[in-house]
């Protein structure tokens, strides 16, 4: 029985989990670093515990501090969210060792899938197709070069403990290998504490399709359809949707079956995702994420199943209340990741204090956010501010609702990716579903800093009028004041 859950995370996903925990009438326990004292996951939890300084390594990544907080709070279970410690088998083991339920698969499953090279071996053995490449990490740039020459350029260097595009580099030419190998190793070392790298063939312009899995402790296993996550930048997903606009019904059931095979091969329990590259009608196992995904809401909207609720139920020892035949997909859902990055300046991270935030609402619109006005977006954590998700009876209506919702979203204080999403929503290849992981490279005009003449003129007029009003209000008062506020040019007084 779980009566209380400590959420070992921050940002939008911590709030998402706080909500699910409270929906079930359980006690939600937040943890936070010194930088997150005012974060919404803290404000909306039932209890909150400070666990250390802003640096993640001394707070959200500190196994000891998290377990200590859970013990002080008498938490029955710990939900790791995604990122941070979510896919660290040693963390799951430490949690269980402390007599606390870990909401996720077993440490053995996490270890098997967390080591991408080990996972590739296990999948190949289970008959799941994998991307051609080596199945062991390389120890040096020269070894990577030898492997690459055998596979043929271009190749992809990947972190053995990788995920989220970190520690990953495409290498087109042998001459680039040494530099990229060093960069990938450094990035992997800092992101995962494990700098091991392996080499795969680079699949040209594939689509990224992944299947959501849900399993209980009694051998019941369902897949909840696929998500298309092809709109990526530097291997970071930006837009996800469910279902994929390009899969046929038979491909859907095939890939779903393969995903179930993959999950069975590692005795999976809880919610997990099997990622595939889809290319010319073939699909290859990429990796399995043994945790909740950032983009899980699109699956929730088309299946009507609350994935976090089911993670909690499975961890409590409940059986799945549905079988594969009960799962049906209704309509279409799209998610845009709203990040603190400037899309018109190469997605440069943008830091600052959120001075204004207005989130969209209305039918078919969901906002999973992790920020509030007054909150500082710092360089310590990833730049995801929130996820805007829309649902409609079909893909075009979901796009229409997303377009409208993006127009309503207002964030001031940091630059955001919203403008990028707004431009994608009206781009014809996206609308017709002609997308691949190379979408952004092939549609550079979306990132063009040019704005329409109309928009510039409107901004200039607004600036002049606002300045004029500002000056009339802040003018030094005369002795016999005649400007009592009603003489403003284009201004109409309201109220």
């Amino acid at each position: 029985m779980i009566r209380s859950v400590l959420i070992a995370n921050r940002g939008e996903i911590a709030l998402r989990i706080v909500r699910a925990v409270r929906d079930l009438g359980l006690r939600a326990i937040a943890v936070y670093s010194e930088a997150d004292k005012l974060a919404p996951h803290v404000l909306l939890a039932d209890e909150a515990y400070e666990i250390g300084p802003p640096r993640a390594s001394e707070s959200y990544l500190s196994v000891d501090r998290l377990i200590e907080a859970a013990q002080v709070a008498q938490a029955d279970a710990i939900h790791p969210g995604y990122g941070f410690l979510a896919e660290r088998a040693d963390f799951a083991r430490a949690v269980e060792g402390a007599g606390i339920i870990f909401i996720g698969p077993t440490p053995e499953t996490i270890a098997a899938m967390g080591d991408k090279t080990e996972a590739r071996k296990r999948m190949a053995a289970a008959g799941v197709p994998i991307v051609p490449g080596i199945t062991d990490p390389v120890s040096s740039a020269s070894e990577a070069l030898r492997a690459s020459r055998i596979l043929g350029f271009p190749v992809l260097l990947k972190a053995a403990s990788g995920g989220g595009g970190k520690g990953m580099r495409v290498v087109d030419r042998p001459g680039e290998l040494e530099r990229f190998f060093a960069a990938a190793t450094r990035e992997a070392e800092s992101a995962f504490g494990d700098g091991r790298i392996y080499v795969e063939s680079y699949v040209d312009r594939p689509r990224h399709v992944e299947v959501q899995i849900l399993a209980d402790n009694y051998g019941n296993l369902v897949h909840l359809g696929e998500r298309e996550c092809s709109i990526q930048r530097r291997h970071q997903k930006l837009i996800e949707e469910a279902p994929s606009p390009l899969l046929t019904a038979s491909e859907r059931s095939d890939i779903g079956e393969v995903a179930l095979t993959a999950a069975r091969a590692v005795d999976y329990r809880g919610a997990g995702t099997v990622e595939f590259l889809h290319h010319n009608g073939n699909y290859y196992f990429l990796e399995m994420n043994t945790r909740l995904q950032v983009e899980h809401p699109v699956t929730e909207l088309v299946t009507g199943i609350d994935l976090v609720e089911w993670q909690l139920r499975v961890a409590s020892g409940e059986q799945l209340a549905f079988s594969q035949g009960d799962i049906s997909l209704t309509g279409h859902a799209i998610e845009c990741r709203i990040t603190a990055e400037d899309p018109l300046a190469g997605f440069l991270p943008s830091t600052g204090t959120i001075s204004h935030l207005e989130v969209p609402a209305g039918l078919g619109v969901r906002w999973d956010g992790g920020v509030l006005e007054g909150l500082e977006v710092s360089r310590h954590y990833d730049p995801l501010l929130g996820k805007l998700i829309t649902h409609g009876p079909d893909r075009l209506s979901a796009i229409g609702r997303m377009t409208r919702a993006l127009d309503e979203l207002e964030v001031l204080g940091v630059k955001t990716s919203a403008l990028f999403h707004r431009r994608v929503m009206e781009e014809k290849d996206f609308i017709s579903g002609h997308i691949s992981v190379a979408y952004i490279e092939e549609h550079q005009s979306i990132l063009s800093p040019e704005v329409s003449e109309d928009c510039l003129v409107t901004a200039a007029v607004a600036a002049a009028l606002m300045e004029d009003w500002h000056r009339s209000r802040h003018r030094t008062p005369r002795l016999n004041s005649e400007n009592t506020g009603n003489r403003m040019s284009a201004w109409r007084n309201s109220g």
């Binding site: 800092s190 204004h356 127009d407 979203l409 207002e410 001031l412 901004a459 009003w469 284009a490």
Partner: protein, 178 residues
């Protein structure tokens, strides 16, 4: 009637604001704007087109404007201030390429150039880690590296000068092959 000069991304607009009319670069517009005066939200009607505008003023006419999903930085000057600025700035025009500055706070992971190196416009200069990603900071323009201000492992603030660039050697010298 007050004349304002509004600069957005190097473009200058002349906006005349009168008691009942507004014109931009000589073109008259039917415009009305409304605000509660409490928040930064403004309602702007241009003809019958409705816009929700968020306007934040920092100092001296620097406006941060959000409209139609776009964030615009606008600088508003009146006629007199503009004339004075024009005179004082005419002599102080910057010579040579711009220094390379940190676009965001972060930590210097790698310095890819040394003093005396020639760099091309767009060439990677320094790798800064921020938000768990490596970001390559590039030169805005080509030039000669005259000074490197930071070391690997050093924390930098947004806007901090990383590398100074000087003009390349005078044309005619045949070593401008960088």
């Amino acid at each position: 009637m007050t004349r304002y000069f509004v600069t957005i991304d190097d473009r200058e607009f002349e906006v005349k604001v009168g008691t009942d009319r507004v014109s931009i670069d000589g073109q008259e517009l039917e415009v009305s704007i409304e605000s509660s005066g409490v928040s930064s939200v403004h309602s702007l009607l241009v003809g019958s087109r409705a816009h929700k505008i968020l306007g934040d003023r920092s100092t001296n006419g620097e406006w941060s404007i959000h409209l139609d999903g776009l964030l615009v930085e606008a600088h508003v000057l009146d006629e007199r201030t503009r004339a004075i600025r024009g005179m004082t700035q005419a002599n102080a025009r910057l010579q040579g390429p711009k220094p390379v500055v940190a676009p965001m706070p972060g930590m210097v992971l790698k310095v890819e150039v040394g003093e005396g190196d020639c760099v091309e416009s767009g060439q990677g200069i320094i790798i800064v880690e921020a938000m768990k990603m490596e970001n390559e900071v590039r030169a805005y323009s080509g030039g000669l590296v005259t000074r490197v201000h930071v070391k690997e492992g050093e924390a930098v603030e947004k806007g901090q000068i990383l590398v100074d660039l000087g003009p390349l050697k005078a044309s005619g010298a045949h070593d401008d092959t960088c």
